[in-house]
Symmetry: D2
Subunit: 220 residues, 4 copies
């Protein structure tokens, strides 16, 4: 599984978000790899209307409909076309009770939950909340191009070991610095089921080629 | 000026956001009153595509394009069709330095800024940041149906007085509990230039009639 | 084990914090029950100087010495006499990564960690971080005088069950609404090792009598 | 006026906070300069007991006595011996409504308020809240040793100009990078009434000498 986080990069905002999602969809059609995209809130509806791959929100708030100006309602991103959401990305970290509340909320709303964690110990805590997907991303490697699977393989293996003690079902992704197909291969060998990737694809000169490289690697 | 804040009410989410915005646009065409709407982030693009009245975001973050997963980029809401944004709503209060940074950012991006304030003293502080619009809303009256213009007229008159000392140009709105045309008339008589309204319209049985009542009142 | 949280109650501020701690110490001497107190930051040094029972901070920040104006440094509360700290109380909730960081920090600094949790699922997540003490407190019962051990015994039994799956060593306390000795007895019967209590003692007419009642109950 | 912010530096924690405050008091006795110190919460009572110069808290929360575990109550720091508090330091930035609430609270409690601001525009907003003291500190210079009075004199002159339009009474301090007596002289020439200083004194090899230099400079 590959989830592409568009963050708030200008290369993946507005019309460019739609174009990037189309490239991901093309690779999905060619390879049948599992690929999702996580555009900004305001781009969810146009991206979801344009492509037939899973669209994730980057965050939702632990709220029900009501008076919460400026917050992100799960129903809203779902109606716009999202099928899931990132939760607790290292750039949008949350209180433990909110992570728990949002995971519960996504379950009620039939949205996929992908909770991010910074290290093995946090991953173990997250695992016991039973999200659908857990993404381990050491924040110090995010955006560096230094792949976690090479620089800190023990972070991944420790995470897999601790998470599996508590939870045999959760899909484990890893992220941070993933830029080449070989990084994806390494991540899978270390026991994960895929990658969460951002700048490695969004800021690539030719995103299609990199997505394709990732997809091929994820199926070896 | 009337700005309708859709908050995260289910009555104004997704397709219902578009329908409500269409009612506001109908009144605008009939009366030529100045009416804007502030839907949720994920609804900005569909609302902006459907209607020809100003669309505001409910919040933007003080960020430039980059690695800010789960945040709201000004460029993103602008490309989706927003012409301005609410800032510091009492349900989404911000650090002073962030309010200042966002007002500056909206100026750069040619977006209208509507900064909310809870009381006259805070309004005076906001006024010196020179936003385009300032909305005074005593939080204890929000959603009560008790109009600030009747329950606490001195909050409005004190705000107008303090704000005008520092700033002669900012448009002053008032909000909280505004539900009838007469509340709008009262708000204007107290020295404001309009209202920021939410449940009074969004949760009304017949929103079109109330918007029309507000629009007529705002032009007397 | 009984930990008395002084919160920011005026009955337990300044000189009254010292007096209340002395009552707890008296009961400790009389009964040999394990009793700790958690006064406000500014009262730690005078309380720790006055009594010979464990003193906890109510919070510490996940920081090392440096430029963190207005934050709470672990070294500072330790030098003032604290032997441990509450973490993530429902009135001071923290990001998951900060809870993890603070637990790690307390371990380095040889301070006891008492992490609070709102429900069984959050308790399970906390347990995997391996704090010394875990306190389950349903926030909706805090300050009500309705004891969790009577109103929601399943919250406690579920917590004990989930926590023990991950962690056999952590001391489990329960809190919220604990006001009588019988509530302590009930809490112990449900599988906890003691209570975290605040208003039940701090706001009691005769705190000494209640502390004594709790201590006797904790030793039955 | 000179306020020395001890931050959470290890050089100014616990017993070393008391020693540093004694040096400041010595200079005060020798020169009669106005010097205050802002130690960590847990050190307020021992510092205030040891010296006869004004002691400030580094922060207080906008709360009344009650259930606010882990927060900082104004009554608590006052009873411990503080006569005022820093508010909104750039390392502990606050919501606008909280700054306003805390300034109001300090007025009720007869505590001095020293509100920090990052730039001239924010200073103008702060000035309208009528604190006793306003400290302008460009955060990018904090801890650098590059004095704001030399590197960005226009930040200070713009601040003085904007603040004085709204408020003729507030004491204006400047901070960031202040390390030598000449920096203090420059700050006064630019229209301020003193300095807020931290590492320049706390991390100096011989703090007494630097404090004395500052005090002499502040009286030229």
């Amino acid at each position: 599984m590959i989830i592409i986080n568009f963050k708030t990069y200008s290369e993946a905002t507005g019309q460019r978000a739609v174009e990037l999602a189309r490239k991901a969809e093309k690779v999905k059609r060619e390879t049948d790899a599992s690929i999702g995209v996580a555009p900004q809130f305001a781009d969810i509806s146009s991206v979801a209307a344009a492509v037939d791959i899973p669209v994730f929100a980057q965050h939702v708030d632990p709220i029900k409909p009501g008076g919460f100006t400026g917050h992100v309602l799960a129903d809203s991103v779902k109606e716009a076309g999202a099928v899931g959401t990132l939760i607790n990305h290292s750039e949008r970290q949350l209180r433990l009770s909110d992570i728990e509340g949002i995971v519960r909320l996504t379950r009620e709303k039939k949205l996929l939950s992908c909770v991010c964690a910074n290290n093995p110990s946090i991953s173990a805590a997250v695992a016991s909340l039973e999200p659908d997907i857990l993404a381990i991303e050491p924040p110090e490697l995010i955006g560096t191009g230094i792949p976690v699977s090479k620089a800190k393989p023990e972070v991944i293996t420790d995470t897999v070991r601790l998470v599996r003690k508590a939870n045999s079902k959760v899909t484990i992704l890893c992220g941070a610095g993933i830029s080449h197909g070989e990084d994806v291969v390494a991540a899978l060998k270390l026991g994960t089921q895929g990658v969460l990737v951002a700048s490695g694809i969004v800021k690539a000169k030719d995103p299609y080629t990199i997505i394709r490289e990732f997809a091929d690697a994820s199926r070896t």
